[in-house]
Structures are given as structure tokens and as C-alpha cells.
């Protein structure tokens, strides 16, 4: 059974939630921690659990404002893990939200979308 996730966002780390009622995983805010690997460890572990007991039609929603280069590596790790679960036959989708004016964030979403096969939607707000 996949657990709920509830990591509260701070000034330099994103808020991360998984709501099993809505089946939405959301990562939002800023991701600028000095030690990205240890910060994202619980998320990677949560994804390992999900891989063991996958949930269909889960939505991975990214609503980031800023992230450092080290975080981009971990975000890709998350996306690749989602991609693995998708490739094994569990339908899922990814939504990448960005502020319409923020070209860099839009481009980052485009770059990530090229690296996975999961349905990937870029959503301007």
C-alpha cells in the first residue's frame, strides 16, 4: 500500500504531497537545497514503494518556481522512475506547470518531456 506523502515546503525546499483520494502527487515551490540527494531520498523511496504496488492513472504535478542545477538531476530521477512504472504497463501522466512569462521554466519542462515517454503536458498559468 502506497503511503500518503506530506513534506512541507520551506524557503529552499519544495512542498511534496501525495493524496491517495485524488491520486495526485504534487511537487511545488523552490528547490535549492545544498544537499539534494538527502532531501529527495524519501521521495525516491516512496517511488520504490509505488513501483511495487502501482496505482493506475496517477498524476504527477510539478509546480516549481525555481530549482538549482543539482535539483534538476533529482527531478529527472523522479521522472525516469515514473517512466519505468509507466513502461511496465501502468497508465500515468505528468503535468508541468509554469508561469506563462517564465521561458526558462517552460524550456526546462520541454527538455524533461523529451526524456520520458509518459504523457507529458505543459501547462501555462
Amino acid at each position: 500500500m502506497v503511503k500518503e506523502l506530506n513534506i512541507v515546503g520551506t524557503e529552499d525546499t519544495p512542498g511534496i504531497t501525495f493524496n491517495s483520494q485524488t491520486n495526485v502527487f504534487e511537487l511545488s515551490g523552490r528547490s535549492l537545497p545544498e544537499d539534494v540527494v538527502s532531501f529527495y531520498k524519501p521521495v525516491i523511496e516512496w517511488l520504490d514503494e509505488l513501483e511495487k504496488s502501482p496505482i493506475e492513472n496517477l498524476e504527477f504535478s510539478f509546480k516549481l518556481d525555481y530549482f538549482n542545477t543539482a535539483s534538476s538531476k533529482l527531478i529527472l530521477d523522479i521522472l525516469l522512475k515514473v517512466n519505468d512504472i509507466f513502461s511496465d504497463g501502468t497508465p500515468m501522466k505528468i503535468k508541468w506547470h509554469f508561469l506563462a512569462m517564465d521561458k526558462d521554466l517552460e524550456e526546462a519542462g520541454e527538455e524533461f518531456s523529451e526524456l520520458v515517454e509518459v504523457p507529458f503536458e505543459l501547462v501555462a498559468y
Binding site: E34, L99, D104, L115
Partner: protein, 185 residues
């Protein structure tokens, strides 16, 4: 007024003139830690909000700031010159100039310089390709991460990196970096 206070005030006057000339909106000198970086980000955000700067350029400034400042933090450990780190933002025509400076151990200078030199001739496409190759390579060492920080700054700013290394003592050199963020980018 004594002679010494007069001298102090002269310093302030010269400093103000120099800040004015370069249209400096934020300047910091001292050790840079994660918390100091967050403080500087907040100050910058308030300043940009009060001048109604658009989100696109604000986001670029933030990303470049984080790249510069975390690069400094990375080099600060066991660095006796950590307190001489600097970070400034100035206005330029249709945009901003970001300056940063910090001491780097002489052992690291030649490798660092080489990496920066190899970037200077790269086009935007080459920088993006380099970035993507790293992103998907599976490596995650600090060293690569920091170098990548500079690649990331270069590709976000249209490769406007200017840099210089100045020897300050037997063990350290001072690394100065300047880059421009234009609203036309």
C-alpha cells in the same frame, strides 16, 4: 569634525559615487552560506517587486543568483578568505549585470579556468547539449554539479560570462565573474 571622520566620510562619498556609476541595486561582501543566500534572494525579490519587474527576468536573475552563490558556498569550506566573497547586482541598459567574487584555492584554478575557457566559444545550442548530456549521464559529483552551475548560468544569459583570476597570496586567487541578463533574451 576631526580629520579621521572626514576621511571616513570621504570613503562613503567615493563608495556612493562608484555604486551610482554602476547603478548597483544590491551589494554584499562577506561569507556566503545557504542562509545568507536565502536572505539575498529575499532582498532581491522585494526590490524587483517594488520596481514591478516582470516574472521572466526575475526568474532568470534568481536562477543566476543561485548558481553564483552556491558556487561560492561550495568553495568556502576551509577557505581563509571566505569573508571576502562578494555579490552585486547592477542595472544596465535593458537589463541587469550580476557580479560575484570569491577566493579559490590555487590548486583548483587551472582546472576551473580551463573549464571556463572551453565554454567561452560554445554556442547556445552547444551549451544546452552539454547540459543535457550531463543531466542524463547519471553522474552526480559535487564537482560536476558546480561546473554545471556555470554552464547553466551561461546558457541562461546567452553566454555573457566575463571572468578573471587574480593571485592574492601563496594559496589563493580571487575569482571574479560578471554576467548580463537582458530583458530581450
Amino acid at each position: 569634525m576631526t580629520e579621521s571622520t572626514d576621511k571616513n566620510l570621504q570613503f562613503l562619498s567615493r563608495f556612493r559615487a562608484s555604486m551610482f556609476e554602476n547603478q548597483i541595486m544590491l551589494s554584499y561582501k562577506g561569507e556566503i552560506s545557504q542562509n545568507i543566500m536565502l536572505g539575498l534572494l529575499e532582498l532581491t525579490e522585494r526590490k524587483l517587486d517594488s520596481s514591478n519587474e516582470d516574472q521572466g527576468i526575475k526568474s532568470k536573475i534568481f536562477n543566476v543568483m543561485v548558481g553564483c552563490l552556491q558556487n561560492i558556498t561550495y568553495h568556502s569550506e576551509d577557505n581563509k578568505h571566505a569573508k571576502s566573497s562578494m555579490f552585486l547586482i547592477g542595472r544596465i541598459e535593458d537589463g541587469y549585470a550580476i557580479y560575484s567574487g570569491n577566493a579559490i584555492n590555487n590548486d583548483k584554478v587551472s582546472d576551473f579556468k580551463e573549464k571556463l575557457m572551453s565554454m567561452t566559444d560554445m554556442s547556445g545550442t552547444e551549451l544546452s547539449l552539454f547540459y543535457k548530456t550531463w543531466l542524463t549521464s547519471g553522474e552526480m559529483s559535487d564537482k560536476n554539479g558546480i561546473h554545471l552551475g556555470l554552464i547553466d548560468i551561461a546558457r541562461r544569459t546567452g553566454n555573457t560570462l566575463d571572468f578573471d583570476f587574480e593571485n592574492i597570496d601563496a594559496d589563493y586567487s580571487y575569482f571574479s565573474l560578471r554576467t548580463e541578463i537582458k530583458s530581450t533574451l
